[in-house]
């Protein structure tokens, strides 16, 4: 493969990936009611479990919530309305996703901050390393290494 044209397969590859991704995220009609129910019930905690969603759990109350949400969706209520109704009845802890305000910003923002901060840190570290003078092995170092290698082989 000649050095000059090595990029051609990569351009093709990127084009295919972009095409598939665009196709996948292209809006394809509205959600069905069943999908809506699934989405909403998975955001509600099953009241008599600790971690499972009402969409997953098999307890009586979780099944009651599934039936209720199915009915509300069939009546045309929006996801926000349904969730609001559940918060009014059970309190905030019924939502499995913390809201993005107040103290909730911490739980959403901190991981992002870590990623961005770490990324920026790495960027500057690489820049510093690139500008720093490289460390070369002296002849004494090389001799040390050769000696150790010999010792290593003998053991």
């Amino acid at each position: 493969m000649s050095r000059g044209r090595g990029w051609i397969p990569w351009v093709g590859l990127v084009a295919v990936v972009v095409a598939v991704v665009v196709w996948a995220v292209w809006p394809s009609g509205d959600q069905t009611d069943a999908e809506r129910v699934r989405n909403i019930t998975h955001q509600l905690r099953c009241p008599d479990c600790e971690s499972l969603s009402a969409g997953d759990s098999q307890t009586a109350s979780a099944r009651a919530i599934r039936r209720d949400v199915t009915q509300r969706v069939a009546e045309g209520q929006s996801a926000a309305t349904i969730k609001r109704a559940y918060v009014d009845r059970y309190g905030e802890s019924i939502l499995l996703e913390p809201e993005r305000d107040g103290i909730g910003l911490v739980v959403w923002g901190l991981p992002l901050l870590v990623l961005v901060g770490g990324g920026v840190g790495l960027f500057f570290a690489f820049r510093r390393w690139r500008n720093a003078a490289p460390v070369h092995a002296t002849e004494a170092d090389e001799e040390l290494v050769r000696e150790m290698r010999r010792g290593d082989g003998a053991s």
């Binding site: 295919v16 990936v17 996948a24 971690s51 499972l52 911490v106 770490g118 570290a125 460390v135």
Partner: protein
């Protein structure tokens, strides 16, 4: 009798640990080698004492000695033998007893492994640290978490273990394996602290503990996967991971330990990242304690929190002591920890390890925050909140996909620096393989973007692994090894490299299974009369009758369900509900038809009525079996990585004329790399 024996053993264990600490400290102070050698041997007393205590408890369980509170609460005359034995880890006090035994095993391993180097202050300090940890747990058992506490009045029968804990044989394996992983992290932690105390911060402590860390990591991985399996086979909601605090508690140290076993390679090769690696080891240990605190103190209530006790304060205190102590030590040694190394290029293996660590750290932050956030909100703002699957999915999926990408690319990156040309040539075939799989998946109608991307990256990663293994095999063959011997000889030449690649394959299997679950799961709930059929996702389910069985332990009602696809009978499966004496509600047992592409997961939602009508939950779960297979691959890969490296070095001639010097077969992890370019990678001037 049994209780007295147990308490005596615990006291002996505590005294041995204390004596070990005193003798070793004296020996260190007086530079007395004899004392140091003696001090090491107290490890065997600790092991013996913890073994006697465990035997005493098992004896009490098997003989149903209900004068001991723990036995009365976790055993009954009707409990089958298997679950009588597993009763040892059915609740807090017994679990800590098991913890103590495993700690004793690791201590004894340290004492044996380093018996010829007892005079080395590094070893002595590591043993002191390990003894301190041991002492804490033994004192915990003598004080607030005494497993041998007596009841004032001996009941005629016990309560039996929690019904969920006497329903599946996996109960015999999951907790001990998890503890082997958890407790094993004490070994690298001890050496890390010893390195900080002695100031010998070179690579010595790393190589000493690499194996122990890897063993603990392997156990932890398998323990977590078995926990998921147990959850899938017992809890009956159709899933295996609910982001429950207990699951998160086991995942957290795994994340930091995984980061460590990657970044430690950078320190071995380049002498860099010392502070970071020490911090990861310390963090891993702290997270095991934090996990024990979260799950065993009752601060969080979850499906796993079967017990509450006053030991929360003790664990929190110990956690604070360990964390603050470690931070002070690292700050104190901070200057000497600075390494002179540098990373030459952002496109190199070591740079990839840095990014890997960043991503794993971010994952750990996500999981930690999500787990403790409800506690914080309640403590700080008095708000009742939950954090569950939607949050974790949204946060972890992009990071996980980024890690998968890295896993596909990084093993092909050479150390130090690379030219774009080399990289392009190494990656072009695997990358196109990945894109091909992505296109095929799209043609088959997959439209979930994360699923498509995961499939593509998984194939990319597999392509890279196959390429690397093929090159390794070819290099061996060219060097004159017969094809029969090639796989074994290749693996023996670089066990860590190939073991790591097998672990990566396991991760790919798990990633594909997780991505499929989000795209193809079907769930339904049907009500059937006897003889009636229904069709879900192309499968026909017929309720053919019920079966009732009764033992002393439980009364079980099964519903026989025949599964057919077209005309083909796939067999009869029987989801069940069991009533345990003393339990208010029935415990469901799912029945799973496992297949390579999908599981059919049946649950009995309401037991057959007198008119013989049942409600059955049907879930079609794609690819679940690949999670267990992935876990198996991770175990095999870890075992391979632990193999001693073959001393016979095969130096093959250059493979093919078109291969420039920069594109050798995948560089191994030692001086045997065939193209000899490793000489440049020996850390210079950083040996302590």
């Amino acid at each position: 009798m049994r209780a007295s024996l147990g308490v005596l053993a615990l006291a002996l264990g505590a005294v041995s640990a204390l004596l070990g600490i005193v003798v070793l400290l004296l020996g260190l102070r007086r530079k007395d080698d004899r004392l140091l050698r003696v001090g090491l041997r107290y490890a065997f007393f600790v092991l013996g004492a913890s073994a006697v205590a465990v035997v005493a408890m098992e004896w009490a369980l098997i003989t149903h000695d209900f004068s001991i509170r723990y036995v009365a609460e976790n055993n009954a005359r009707s409990t089958p033998l298997l679950f009588t034995i597993t009763g040892l880890w059915a609740a807090l006090e017994g679990s800590i007893l098991l913890w103590g035994l495993i700690l004793g095993v690791y201590l004894a391993w340290m004492a044996i492994h380093f018996r010829h180097r007892a005079a080395d202050p590094m070893v002595a300090w590591a043993m002191v640290v390990a003894f301190v940890v041991t002492l804490f747990f033994f004192v915990l058992m003598l004080g607030p978490a005494n497993p041998f506490e007596r009841l004032p009045v001996t009941p005629t029968d016990g309560q039996g273990p929690n019904p969920l804990l006497q329903n599946h044989p996996l109960m015999a394996f999951h907790p001990p394996l998890l503890y082997l992983g958890y407790v094993g992290m004490t070994v690298p932690f001890s050496f890390a602290i010893a390195a900080l105390i002695t100031g010998r911060l070179g690579e010595g402590w790393l190589t000493e503990t690499r194996r122990a860390t890897l063993v603990a990591w392997g156990f932890l991985s398998v323990g977590i996967i078995l926990g998921a399996w147990w959850s899938y086979e017992v809890l009956g909601w159709g899933g295996y991971w609910a982001w429950d605090p207990v699951e998160n508690a086991s995942l957290l140290p795994w994340l930091t330990a995984t980061a460590f076993i990657h970044s430690v390679i950078v320190q071995e090769r380049r002498g860099m990242l010392r502070v970071w690696n020490l911090s990861l080891v310390v963090a891993t240990f702290c997270l095991t304690i934090l996990g024990t605190f979260l799950t065993r103190s009752g601060v969080l209530n979850s499906v796993h929190s079967f017990s509450e006790s006053p030991i929360g304060g003790w664990l929190l205190g110990f956690l604070a002591f360990v964390t603050i102590g470690s931070v002070i030590l690292i700050a104190w040694r901070g200057d000497t920890l600075r390494a002179p190394g540098r990373i030459d290029s952002p496109v190199s293996r070591e740079a990839a390890f840095l990014v890997n660590n960043l991503l794993f750290a971010a994952l750990a932050v996500v999981v930690l925050l999500g787990t403790v956030y409800p506690l914080l909100a309640e403590a700080l703002q008095d708000r009742q909140l939950s954090v569950g699957e939607p949050y974790f999915d949204r946060m972890t999926t992009p990071i996980g996909v980024a890690l998968l990408f890295l896993m596909a690319v990084a093993p092909a990156l050479p150390w130090r620096a690379t030219s774009g040309d080399v990289l392009r040539r190494r990656l072009v075939v695997p990358a196109w393989f990945g894109v091909g799989v992505m296109v095929v998946a799209a043609l088959f109608g997959v439209r979930e973007i994360w699923t498509l991307v995961t499939f593509g990256l998984a194939a990319f990663a597999v392509g890279g692994i196959v390429r690397q293994v093929a090159l390794g095999f070819r290099a061996q063959h060219v060097a004159g090894v017969s094809w029969w011997e090639v796989p074994w000889r290749t693996v023996r030449g670089s066990p860590r490299l190939y073991g790591g690649l097998v672990v990566h394959l396991g991760i790919v299997a798990i990633a594909v299974a997780l991505a499929s679950a989000s795209a193809f799961t079907t769930k339904d709930e049907v009500r059937l009369r006897k003889g009636e059929s229904t069709t879900v996702a192309g499968y026909t389910f017929t309720y053919t009758g019920r079966e009732v069985s009764s033992t002393d332990q439980k009364r079980t009602v099964k519903a026989q369900v025949r599964i057919e696809r077209g005309d083909r009978d796939l067999g009869t499966y029987a989801p069940a509900v069991s009533m345990f004496p003393g339990a208010t509600s029935g415990i469901g047992t799912p029945s799973v038809k496992t297949g390579p592409l999908r599981d059919i997961y049946l649950t009995l939602i309401s037991a057959p009525t007198d008119r013989d009508r049942v409600t059955i939950g049907i879930a079609i779960n794609p690819m679940v079996v690949w999670i267990w297979i992935g876990g198996g691959l991770m175990a095999v890969g870890t075992a391979i990585a632990l193999l001693p490296k073959s001393r016979r070095v095969v130096v093959p001639p250059a493979v093919g004329r078109d291969r420039p010097a920069g594109d050798g077969p995948p560089a191994g992890d030692g001086p045997e790399a065939p193209d000899g370019k490793d000489d440049r990678d020996v850390p210079v001037g950083v040996r302590a």
